[in-house]
Amino acid sequence: MIFFAFSIIISLLTFLLKHKTLTNILPKLFLSAHIAVSFWALFKINQFDSIYYKFDALSVLLSFVLSILSVTTFYHSYLYLKRHKVSVEQESNYYAALMMLITAMTSAYFAENIAVLWISVEATTLLVSILIFYEHTEEALEATWKYLFICSVGIAFAFIGILFLSMTAGNNGITSLSSSKLIAVAPLMNPLWLKITFLLVLTGFSAKMGLFPLHTVAVDAHTVAPPPISAFISTTLMNVGFLAIFRIFTIVAQTEIIHWVQNVLLIVGVLSIFMATIQLQRVNHFKRMFAFSSLEHMGIVALGLGAGGLGYYAAILHLIFHAFTKASLFYQIGQVYQFFKSYWIKDVSGYFKLNPIGGLSVLLCFVSILAVPPSGLFVSEFLIFKALFVNEHPIVAVVVLALLSVIIYTILKNILHLLFDDVPTGLKVDALKVNPYETISQFVLLSLVIYLGINPPIFFTDLINEAISVLN
């Protein structure tokens, strides 16, 4: 709670004072506070912080992911704003909105009460829309409108689901929307209302998680937002959507309808990957390609939950690895833009020749995102497919493997074009000013994905196992 008050004050000061020095100092203070909160939550794990917040294992994990990506996103935002030569006023607005967004996401992660979680998710929609619209272009206006409107309708539907949940909980004497209390009485709840609740929540929050059926808004938002913000939408914000669905999933997992819910997740997962495969065939914009890649990966996460058993562990692992890898990709594409001034696939080629270190980063990002060893995503995907086979879903596994083969081919074709085709004629190479050190954050994140995949530390696996202990 102290962190939330502190963050709101810092964001307001940044927004109101619009002072150059303060705009430099306050975000650093905020980042330090966020990292401190993540460690505080780790030390106080499973303890309540007021009646509305609790430091559980999953929220601690996702909070650390957010802390790490906040540091890199602030760094890349600094580069982005410097290159666009924005005024102090614009810079202050950007940082204030970004800090408030991170605060709202942190609130969603730690929310123990479903209503508080819902309010936090709603707040993230408002705040991220300010950042999506940051460039004030016609496309940004369109994407922001769609994002706000469809997310609002989606979140309204999720709210109806929560109302039904409150009703069936009320029948069993529960008078609050506390997750732990709802889990305790879940076996006594009416299965029909729980099914309706899950369907509404899944549909509503699919806009946030970037999952079928409301995935389209996230795709448009990725396309027009500044690259550091796209990195956030595609990673930590999708994690918010996952967490919201996961909280309801943990409640229904205590009941007899769990197999029905898992079948729904398997269908949604396959449809997400299918939609990603179809859309990737028509894609001609790099940021849209990454957005559809996120749709594919969220589909894989849904499959992990749908498969159950080992799949639960793998789903969370996949979510974390995807966050680090996809953020690296978006940071790197921001750098690619400096060379070509375009995100269109036809305009961007020969990057390796122009920027060997950046090219290497792109190559590693794609090795990682396509789940090729030694990427951690290989480990998580392997475990998800193992869970699918072990839990008797071989047809789902085979269909998804076939779709993934098409996705890998399509993405690889575009990436080889980006890296190794001829440099476009007429490109002004003299004007290039990209410092190789700007790529360090991408290498660090990718190394983290490899390290955590191959040799995960005990505390890391313990946290994941604790997060899913309520499901097994």
Binding site: A115, E122, E139, L163, S166, G170, L177
Partner: protein, 209 residues
């Protein structure tokens, strides 16, 4: 009294289907706010006094006055008068409202739960589905926001129908949603109107593969 409010609310939905003037949409939303005030005043007086006053103020101040006033401002700013050519003719829309109402009635009887107020559930469900239909058949952003607010009013009724266990939290949530819908989306309508000189949805179709 319950039946009177439910019938009045159903009539506003039919009027929404009948109307083509944006000014009428704003008036109908204000009337819905007033009906919700009546519903709360007559049927929710057993809850905590603080929650009761908060919800009453929300319906009369926000839903009946502030939201319609702001929407009217947006309407005038964008010089909106008549909603041209909805995708579905008015006559069919009226039939759709009636069909939704009948389906909602049957559904609420099927889902009959001791915790649920069946009559409110019927009208709440009708309002939510009709709001979605309203969004689909209209071609301009202003009408889309009106559709969103019809859904929100339906959700408000639904929260009364299912006897929510946390009235204050639920209403804070709905309030946030309404503010988001009206203030933020309203501001964006103005921005779209200023940029494209029109608020038709067809202008927002650049982003595709």
């Amino acid at each position: 009294m319950t039946y009177l409010f439910i019938i009045l609310y159903a009539i506003t939905l039919i009027y929404f289907a009948l109307s083509e003037r944006t000014k009428k949409f704003v008036w109908l939303l204000a009337i819905q706010g007033l009906i919700l005030f009546g519903v709360v005043f007559f049927s929710l007086n057993k809850i905590d006094i603080f929650d009761f006053i908060f919800i009453l103020l929300e319906t009369i101040v926000v839903k009946t006055l502030v939201v319609p006033w702001f929407l009217n401002k947006v309407r005038k700013h964008n010089q909106l008068k008549r909603e041209h050519e909805p995708y579905v003719p008015v006559f069919y829309s009226i039939i759709v409202v009636v069909i939704i109402l009948i389906i909602s009635f049957m559904l609420s009887n099927y889902l009959n739960d001791s915790q649920m107020h069946t009559q409110y559930f019927t009208i709440a469900f009708t309002s939510i589905i009709f709001g979605g239909y309203f969004i689909m058949i209209h071609k301009n952003l202003f009408s889309n926001v009106v559709g969103y607010l019809i859904i929100e009013n339906g959700i408000f009724l639904l929260s009364l129908a299912v006897g929510s266990i946390m009235p204050i939290m639920v209403n804070l949530a709905i309030l946030l949603d309404v503010f988001m819908g009206v203030l933020i989306l309203g501001l964006f309508i103005n921005r779209v109107g200023d940029t494209f000189k029109s608020v038709k949805t067809e202008h927002l179709s650049k982003l595709k593969d």
